[in-house]
């Protein structure tokens, strides 16, 4: 246990250090531009034609973040406010805080991404296992592999555009019916409360965004599982199992599959750690009300505090998730040597 404790401490230090570096970078970047960040915000606000609340906003900012003081004081108060969960105010919709806007969007992203990541992992892994076991040289296997490769190479947001064109626009033009093109639900339906209709409406709206993520990540899961399965097939214990006269089904699922799946699990953990910032552009293309759409609108309205907040939150979530993976992984796979850097 002592080695594990030392390993834990090392990981925690790395986590703290990388969080600190990320926060510092987020703090420094806007201050590299000449001039007061507040002046820049004011100027951008007047460009946008908004003057309501501008003065209050500036006063509030100065008070909280000490913008009229020296850089070091600013840095300290920035970190202090951050630790209290204060990410500042949105400029685009002033009295609302950045934290509030983010907390409204984040369930959509986590919901969409966790479901799609797990679904595509399951489908890809099972397909890869079946085809990897049956052999690489059948026509079906080749066809599948080229298709998977194509899906793997196409970026998800390009695929999203294609889906949007064919299944939302083109289908509606030809059949008079198509998938929804934007939003997370039909506006107004949420007022009736959390009913079955609302849930179905959400699922209906998320089909195309989900497909764009599932299909493009499917390729990778399929390819890696297939090659793992082919490797495992040549191992001695498979030969042994065959010699024992076990049925092919048992050998495949209980012997080959269980051994081949380990790297896939790591892959899933890594994919899950990135879900908050994972598919920002799909949300942009489908106007899906998650983090990506929030970020896109923040960029469009030059809402720098909101951009900063989104970016910071995603970075922190990734760092934290990486830390959790590092903690759990040695417990799952004892072959990982902890405490020693390669």
């Amino acid at each position: 246990m002592t080695t594990y404790a030392r390993y834990l401490l090392g990981r925690a230090i790395t986590l703290a250090f990388s969080v600190w570096i990320a926060i510092s970078i987020v703090f420094i970047i806007p201050r590299l531009v000449p001039g007061n960040p507040m002046d820049a915000i004011l100027m951008k606000m007047s460009q946008m034609g908004a003057s309501v609340g501008a003065q209050e906003l500036v006063e509030e900012y100065k008070k909280i973040f000490g913008l009229d003081k020296d850089l070091f004081t600013q840095y300290i108060s920035f970190i202090k406010e951050l630790l209290r969960g204060n990410l500042g105010y949105s400029i685009g919709s002033f009295p609302t805080t950045v934290a509030e806007l983010i907390s409204r969007s984040i369930p959509w992203t986590i919901g969409l991404l966790s479901v799609t990541t797990i679904l595509s992992w399951i489908i890809g892994t099972i397909l890869g296992a079946l085809i990897g076991w049956k052999g690489e040289h059948t026509i079906l296997s080749r066809l599948f592999s080229y298709f998977a490769l194509l899906l793997y190479v196409i970026p998800y947001y390009i695929f999203a555009i294609l889906l949007l064109f064919f299944f939302s626009y083109y289908l509606r033009q030809t059949l008079g019916f198509g998938f929804p093109s934007s939003g997370g639900y039909t506006p107004g339906i949420e007022l009736k409360g959390f009913t079955l209709e609302y849930v179905l409406n959400i699922i209906w709206h998320s089909i195309l965004p989900a497909l764009s993520i599932i299909l493009t990540s499917l390729g990778w899961w399929y390819l890696s599982m297939r090659s793992m399965m082919t490797t495992v097939k040549g191992e001695d214990y498979i030969l042994m199992a065959e010699a024992k006269g076990l049925s092919e089904k048992t050998i495949m699922w209980k012997y080959a599959f269980r051994n081949a799946i380990l790297p896939q699990t790591t892959g899933l953990a890594i994919a899950l750690s990135r879900i908050v910032g994972g598919a920002l552009l799909t949300e942009v293309i489908f106007a899906y009300p998650g983090m990506g759409w929030l970020l896109y609108n923040a960029i469009k309205s030059l809402d720098y505090p909101l951009i900063q907040g989104c970016v910071l939150l995603i970075i922190l979530s990734v760092a934290l998730a990486n830390f959790i993976i590092d903690l759990v992984y040695p417990l799952i796979d004892p072959r990982i040597r902890y405490g020693e850097e390669t």
């Binding site: 990388s18 987020v26 592999s145 093109s181 552009l281």
Partner: protein, 286 residues
């Protein structure tokens, strides 16, 4: 001795269909775009040169967009700019990353530790995020060249990590000890003995970095952070999406950049796989 080695590589390249197919397509697309730019005058992609939203016709082979610009002319220009971003970002990223990684791996010690943590941060954070922060800050002033430099800020970390590992293993090999014994200076060892081992790998990394730079450019541009005064493949998609070309049924606007990007990605990937097979004959991918 050296010439036989080169010959061996050449013969391997000759036999690799993936490498050839990929390299040919990538080069062919660029070649066509250059020729095309000579044929179509640059006014063609200026606003208001034609009637807006024309479907493909004999004068505008791919039609025009909502601002009356010829799509084919934009596409040619966009391909060149996207390639330019890919080239600059990949070259600088590979060189900077390799240098940092090399210093870190070869000298070790405190520098190595510091660099390692920084590389860790850059590798674990989705790089698009840092780029969004920076690009949002200088939005309005982004050109094709600054776009390439912005992408460089994050894409050095992967080659740095890779080269560090290589440098660490190389410096323990016997021929390095031998050259030290024979009185070569450390600079001489690096340049004469170690660099040649890196070149092949740097070539493969370059292709990969090129691909990811084109990809990142498209992503940033779709978010609205691309170059404003020039056109890239990503910027074309951004315009098409902002004018909701899809729902106006203007397939001739959205499809050219999308299909071009898919072809470019696919051929770059094939090229990368082919190159990988040439360099490490043992590893076999799909």
């Amino acid at each position: 001795m050296k010439s036989t080695k080169i010959y061996r590589h050449l013969s391997k390249i000759k036999g690799n269909k993936k490498f050839f197919a990929g390299a040919f397509t990538v080069a062919f697309i660029y070649f066509i775009s250059i020729i095309g730019s000579f044929i179509l005058p640059s006014e063609y992609y200026r606003t208001g040169s034609f009637e807006p939203a024309l479907p493909p016709n004999t004068k505008n082979f791919m039609g025009t967009d909502c601002l009356g610009r010829d799509i084919l002319a934009q596409l040619f220009r966009g391909i060149q700019n996207s390639y330019k971003i890919g080239f600059i970002a990949a070259t600088l990223g590979t060189i900077i990353g390799a240098t940092i990684g090399f210093i870190s791996g070869y000298y070790g010690g405190f520098i190595d530790k510091v660099i390692n943590v920084i590389v860790d941060v850059f590798l674990s954070v989705p790089s698009l995020l840092f780029l969004i922060l920076i690009a949002a800050l200088i939005s309005g002033g982004v050109t094709v060249e600054t776009m390439a430099l912005i992408i460089c800020i994050t894409n050095w970390s992967w080659p740095a990590r890779q080269v560090r590992a290589q440098a660490m293993s190389l410096k323990r090999r016997e021929f390095v000890y031998l050259s030290k014994l024979s009185g070569m200076g450390s600079m001489e060892i690096i340049v004469k003995e170690l660099m040649p081992h890196m070149f092949q790998w740097m070539g493969a990394n370059f292709i990969n970095a090129f691909l990811s730079a084109v990809l990142t450019e498209a992503g940033l541009s779709i978010l609205g952070l691309g170059p404003q005064r020039d056109v890239t493949l990503g910027v074309m998609i951004y315009w098409a999406l902002s004018y909701s070309a899809i729902f106006r049924g203007m397939w001739w606007w959205i499809f050219p950049p999308v299909v071009t990007l898919i072809i470019v990605f696919f051929s770059l990937y094939i090229l990368h796989v082919g190159l990988d097979e040439i360099i490490n004959p043992k590893s076999k991918k799909v």
